[in-house]
């Protein structure tokens, strides 16, 4: 069991959720509550990482932010590390890859709030900001929790993007899934097997949690 790989995987998973949640909540709520021109386009764009092969995403990230491009140099100045082969770069790649997993469940969560409950909150004298924190956020929690769990589980399983953007730098970008790949090439079936079992256990736990949560989601009407 490669503990540093496990830690990289966990950090990447948690980091992705942490970084994506504010953006996901903002966008998910916007898509749920408002109608605007171009909304369909935005929803389609959000779905793109879902259907994009990970290597394509990795390729474009490297081309855009690679060490030799101007954006890449800006990134290095900003992040202190080049995008490729750094945890920061991996975080960026993972965040982009997980956008649909975060935005869509959150959007459903906010859509499930009946509009008259939202209006009642306004009529109670709550400013839009207060409405968001006191009423909408607690009522949208199934969507938010689902988004967090899905993004975490998906990040743990990410392989193509990690390999392309991160390489397999131990302690930095060698996640559990990449470590399994490495162990296989070293003919260490046992080591690979242990880590694969760990990933499987995490994935199943995530599924159980998500299912349990959606079962217990009560009707949003009071």
């Amino acid at each position: 069991m490669d503990w540093s790989a496990l830690q990289v995987s966990l950090s990447l998973g948690l980091g992705t959720i942490a970084v994506l949640l504010p953006f996901g909540i903002w966008l998910g709520r916007l898509l749920a509550v408002r109608e605007f021109r171009g909304k369909l386009l935005v929803e389609a764009l959000v779905t793109v990482p879902l259907v994009l092969p990970p290597t394509v995403l990795g390729f474009y990230l490297l081309v855009t932010f690679g060490a030799r491009s101007p954006l890449g140099e800006a990134f290095t100045a900003f992040a202190g590390q080049s995008l490729a082969f750094s945890f920061q770069g991996l975080l960026l790649a993972s965040a982009i890859a997980n956008i649909p997993f975060v935005v869509q469940p959150i959007q459903r969560g906010f859509e499930a709030i009946p509009s008259d409950v939202r209006e009642a909150a306004a009529c109670c004298g709550l400013t839009p900001w207060q409405r968001f924190w006191q009423i909408e956020l607690p009522l949208a929690w199934p969507g938010i929790l689902t988004a967090a769990i899905l993004a975490f589980a998906h990040t743990l399983g990410e392989f193509g993007v990690v390999l392309m953007v991160g390489g397999s730098i131990p302690g930095e970008t060698r996640t559990l899934s990449v470590a399994i790949y490495d162990r296989m090439q070293a003919f260490d079936d046992r080591g690979a097997g242990i880590m694969a079992a760990a990933l499987l256990a995490i994935a199943i736990t995530a599924l159980i949690l998500t299912t349990a949560l959606s079962r217990r989601a009560v009707p949003r009407r009071g």
Binding site: A67, A84, F85, L137, A140, W141, G167, P170, G171
Partner: protein
């Protein structure tokens, strides 16, 4: 620095949002559960503080990701998978210092160095990749020759392939149509793949073998394919089949050097090499390490 600050801010906001969202979780706890207290798995008292516990826990775990000191990273061609591992362990036993090993095909590793990978030492399976890096100004010097590699033809147990040093058995099996899959490393970026191609061409087996050819991303992956279910076999690195992991998995025959250009393996210190790596570099040229390399089938050039 700014990036880390930004990420930390975002992370804090993200977890705070998650905590606020879990406020709503109260609505799924029925009155009975809220009143039950002890009997319920989530005690209300614990639950009140649960959100903060979770937030704290998550922040702590994320923070662990910031590691202070890490051992230097040595990139090596995949044929050194077992040999270098052995040398590195002896190095640690002898000096108390550690290096991290990353394996891959020489071509891929070279590309990664060009893209800024944080390697400190690069052991290629040939010389051209080292020359390329040196010309690009990414190395300390032009490096040294540390070993000469050999290739073998390998047949896993149960395969109909008869191994011999002239590839006659392969030729026979091919003509009878009994070769379903044959593994080599990808000649595009693996020196051992190039050597395999040369050997096959020398025996006029390259064209006929095309339909059955399976290309491994590096020589280790080629070895994996070679031992897999219905592969007839493959052309692998001598150093790999000598390792315990592969030794008893099938039969092999060493192929004469006349069949392919020599696998002159060069290593070079990269620009960011530190003291530990320099010591490891020197260690590799000393008798103990050289002896290990010989045990793994490498020919070691005189000092």
């Amino acid at each position: 620095m700014v990036y880390d600050a930004l990420v930390t801010c975002l992370a804090t906001v993200g977890f705070r949002l998650l905590a606020a969202a879990t406020d709503g979780y109260r609505v799924v706890l029925s009155r009975a559960e809220l009143d039950a207290g002890d009997r319920h798995p989530m005690r209300p008292l614990l639950w009140r503080n649960f959100r903060w516990l979770v937030t704290l826990l998550l922040l702590v775990v994320s923070a662990i990701g910031v590691e202070a000191q890490r051992p230097p990273i040595v990139a090596a061609a995949s044929d050194l998978q077992f040999a270098l591992d052995s040398v590195a362990r002896r190095f640690t036993a002898d000096t108390g210092e550690r290096v991290e090993l990353v394996f891959g095909s020489s071509g891929t590793l070279t590309r990664q160095v060009v893209e800024g990978a944080p390697f400190e030492l690069f052991l290629s399976a040939d010389e051209s990749y080292v020359e390329k890096l040196s010309a690009a100004g990414l190395t300390r010097d032009s490096g040294v020759l540390y070993a000469v590699g050999r290739i073998v033809i390998f047949a896993p147990r149960g395969s109909p392939l008869a191994v011999d040093d002239q590839l006659a058995g392969l030729g026979r099996l091919l003509s009878s149509g009994g070769v379903k899959r044959f593994a080599i490393a990808n000649p595009e970026h693996a020196p051992y793949g190039r050597a395999a191609e040369a050997a096959l061409r020398a025996r006029n087996l390259w064209q006929p073998l095309q339909p059955a050819l399976v290309l491994g991303e590096n020589i280790s992956q080629a070895a994996q394919f070679a031992v897999a279910g219905d592969a007839a076999g493959g052309i692998l690195a001598y150093s790999l089949v000598l390792a315990p992991a592969l030794r008893d998995r099938g039969t092999f025959a060493l192929l004469p050097e006349s069949l392919h250009p020599p696998l002159r393996q060069r290593m070079v210190l990269l620009k960011r090499a530190g003291a530990t790596t320099e010591r490891f570099y020197q260690y590799l040229r000393q008798p103990a390490a050289r002896e290990t390399l010989r045990q793994f089938g490498f020919a070691v050039p005189p000092q």
